[in-house]
Amino acid sequence: MIELILFIIVAAVAIFGALTVVFARNPVYGAMGLMMTLFSLAVFYVVHLAHLVAAVQVIVYAGAVMTLFLFVIMMIGVDRDEDNTEKLPMQRQFVGALGLVIVLVAGIAAVGGRFDWVRPAASTVEANGTVQEVGKLLFTEWILPFEATSLLLIIAAAGAIALAYFGPRRRDREDA
């Protein structure tokens, strides 16, 4: 019962945050909406006893990524008016059509009786063991993807620095 109430409240918050991201005129409010959604997702993870995932969600997404988003938004200046001209032609019509198709498919599935809510699987891992379990999996079975991901991140960081520092703009600045 408590879980249901919690779910309804948090789900409402998550949807509200998502809608804020789409409709907010001010990008800072959009970022805050995204943070709200990410937080609600963390609560869902806690409800499903995935404490580690929840903590990582808050640290990485709500803590680091969103802070950087805000940082960038503030650095480039939020007071400037947004450019509302659409660069992609027909994108509204395209998105509308796509949305209609999705609703139709979902409707057909629901009407045809092929629709089912996701049932929680019987918990195989003890709640207190998630950290250890994830750690073991990461460092045994998934060691290659894990290391590859970290390599990818380092390459991305190095690439960003390379673009920012050693591009042609750098030389211009030194000349000026």
């Binding site: 001010n26 805050m32 404490h51 580690l52 640290i59 709500a62 803590g63 802070t67 503030m74 250890q132």
Partner: protein
């Protein structure tokens, strides 16, 4: 799960809220008093004996003061920022154990009353999550006030928090790694468990070759706190903690001389009080975590043969608060002594000194832990 269980949980949560609150009252007073002492002044001495009620008086004053709202604010975020500052501050203390707890037979059952808000198995991660969320308050307060200096402070605060969080996290990882060797249960992220593993003395962990066995008697006198093997991690943690709480010499967010107090200038009345409370609660939390990670938490002499039971029950709480107070004194001492860093110096210290030092220390700890666990590779 009957009435008494619910009551116990509620009491724990309320206590986890009240302890930092009361601690902050004394902390603010202590900071002003010690700062005054160190600058040859007297400090607050009007409200109560030695001015001890000064914080209460200030709080009451701020509570009844007019809340001035500057004209250019984004009101929604402006009003939300102080709350966002306060929530993570009090949430953090929930996972910090402040005592050993006791058992009590009531309602037909022997129940345990742990002295911790909630013993999460991911306590350390929870703390890191909360400290990264705490940045939002500064950023939003800086931005929403629609003023230049607070915005600068907010941007500085973001960069500072992200930079020093990395160093702090790495220092904590080294401690957790080390703690995993002192028990057969493997690693842990729970603060309660980390404290449990620091009880006892060093001779229980270290076994020396025959010729040096006399030295074990010396080790038998030294408590098994992490401060000894993890001293470097402690130094890195403390520097990062001071930076995380935006205290001098890292208070670039609210640098009085450059930013005229940053966002503090834009807030008044109760909203300002909330920021103030959050700042000092964070300071208390950081000190408490330093005590839990490095100084054995509530561990200390128990005197259970000489003292009555009720005192023995609450003695760990006393040790915990005493150690926290000692760490807080260092905080205040540093503030009274060292001048503020320039922004580029701050970034250099964070990225070029602390993080490499933390990484090197982490690798060194890993080597030690591996050798203890698996033996020398050539053996």
């Amino acid at each position: 799960m009957d009435f008494w269980d619910v009551l116990f949980v509620a009491a724990r949560v309320v206590l986890a809220f009240v302890i930092p609150l009361v601690a902050v009252i004394f902390l603010v007073w202590g900071e002003r008093k010690i700062n005054a002492d160190m600058t040859n002044r007297i400090g607050p001495n009007r409200a109560g004996p030695w001015g001890i009620l000064q914080t209460v008086a200030d709080g009451l004053k701020l509570f009844f003061k007019e809340q001035v709202t500057p004209r250019k604010v984004e009101f929604l975020l402006y009003a939300a920022a102080p709350i966002l500052a306060l929530i993570p501050a009090f949430m953090t203390f929930l996972v910090i154990p402040w005592g050993e707890g006791f058992t009590w037979e009531i309602g037909g059952k022997v129940r345990e009353f742990a002295f911790v808000g909630a013993d999460l198995n991911i306590g350390v991660l929870f703390f890191l999550a909360m400290s990264s969320v705490a940045v939002y308050a500064i950023v939003l307060a800086g931005w929403s006030s629609g003023s230049k200096y607070p915005l600068l402070g907010g941007i500085r605060g973001t960069a500072q928090a992200i930079s020093y969080e990395a160093a702090m996290g790495l220092a904590i990882v080294a401690v957790i790694l080390f703690a995993s060797t002192t028990s057969t249960d493997g690693g842990t992220l729970s603060f309660v468990e980390l404290v449990e593993r620091q009880r006892g003395t060093w001779d229980e962990v270290v076994s020396l070759p025959g010729g040096l066995s006399w030295f074990e008697n010396v080790l038998g006198l030294i408590p098994r706190w992490n401060i000894l093997p993890q001293f470097i991690a402690f130094v890195i943690f403390m520097i990062a903690a001071v930076a995380e709480t935006n205290r001098a010499p890292f208070d670039l967010v609210e640098a009085e001389q450059e930013l005229v107090g940053g966002f503090h200038t834009e807030y008044s009345g109760f909203r300002f009080a909330m920021f103030f409370l959050a700042e000092y609660t964070n300071m208390f939390n950081m000190s408490a975590i330093a005590v839990v990670l490095f100084f054995g938490g509530w561990d200390g002499p128990t005197f259970d043969q000489w003292l009555p039971g009720i005192i023995v029950t609450f003695l760990p709480l006393f040790w915990f608060l005493l150690k926290t107070a000692a760490v807080l004194f260092v905080y205040i001492w540093i503030r009274a002594t060292w001048p503020r860093l320039r922004y580029d110096q701050l970034m250099n210290l964070g990225w070029k000194r602390l993080i490499p030092a933390a990484l090197v220390w982490l690798i060194a700890s890993t080597v030690v832990v591996s050798v203890r666990q698996f033996g020398w590779p050539w053996a």
